[in-house]
Amino acid sequence: MRGMTPIVKTITALLIGFIMLFGFYIILTGHLSPGGGFAGGVICAAGLLLVVLAFGADTVKERMGHNMAVLWEGLGAIGFLAVALLGFITGTFFAHFLPQDVGFSFKLFTGGSILYQNLAIGLKVGAGLFGAFLMLAAFREAERGGRGNGEGDRS
């Protein structure tokens, strides 16, 4: 994909850090304020989608290819299952095995294993959606290259 004008590329390069930071914030404080793993993961995926749209699918495939997206998604799924199975240490499936703060004082490490579950889910959803969109953009580029007729300059 050809990517967009230099204005869009510059602005994306400046903004991508803030978007990913906001996504991580929503994932991390999921148990304290609205948000959680799912919303934060989709926000991170939307930031990476902006990068794919602005710079072109080929450029992004060199830096962060399809294999890395699949790897991160698998790690997220395994992480969630690991948190669930480690609950067997203190009793049943999914039991909390870390101490829980009883005074809900808005600190980060309250809530036991909810924080790690949020992190695993955010990683999984973000990497999965980004990988699917990257494959879609590369597929479209290959299809347009194969057909060869000009369909205008719209990407």
């Binding site: 304020s33 036991g112 699917a132 494959m135």
Partner: protein
């Protein structure tokens, strides 16, 4: 409470108009944009009702879905012929719609009135929620009391993404050579 209801009805009317336009219009790009308006209307309903968690997720998911749809719709030819209306077709569709509306009317008599749900999240949830350590009750329900459902959801998303990978796998081969 009445201004909440007025706002709610206004946004729902906007959603209905956006849905009708999205389904009926011939241009594919306009219908996808109206679908985006429908999603944002749903996020507004979530905010009015008092569920900011859902509004946040709905906005971001709607943006992702609209970008996906726009990229498939733009710059592709569409040679669909118009729908030919003949009488059995219209009669069958009308009968189905009447049946659904009648069934809904009968069922909704038994439903609890709007604004007064009977479920109180259970006394046991309430007591346990104070010891769960998570101040956001929605996350506590999602990841502490109902963690099995979240595991099921993670599996479904995983399967859908794997399906996408499997369908797009042979994208390198050119099929027209």
């Amino acid at each position: 409470m009445s201004e909440t209801l007025t706002l709610l009805y206004g946004v729902m009317a906007f959603m209905l108009i956006a849905a009708i336009v999205a389904v009926e219009t011939r241009d594919l790009l306009s219908s996808v944009l109206c679908l985006g308006a429908l999603g944002f209307g749903l996020a507004l309903v979530d905010l009015i009702v008092g569920a900011p968690d859902l509004a946040l997720t709905q906005v971001v998911v709607e943006i992702f879905a609209v970008v996906l749809l726009i990229r498939t719709v733009v710059a592709r030819e569409d040679t669909t012929k118009e729908f030919i209306r003949d009488t059995p077709h219209v009669a069958a569709m009308g009968a189905v719609i009447m049946a659904i509306l009648l069934g809904a009317y009968i069922c909704f008599q038994q439903l609890t009135p709007f604004g007064d749900p009977p479920m109180i999240m259970g006394a046991s949830y309430m007591r346990a929620a104070q010891q769960a350590g998570a101040t956001n009750l929605v996350t506590a329900v999602l990841l502490d009391f109902r963690a099995y459902d979240t595991l099921g959801e993670a599996t479904v998303i995983f399967a859908a993404i794997m399906g996408c990978y499997a369908l797009l796998r042979t994208s390198g081969k050119k099929e027209h050579s």
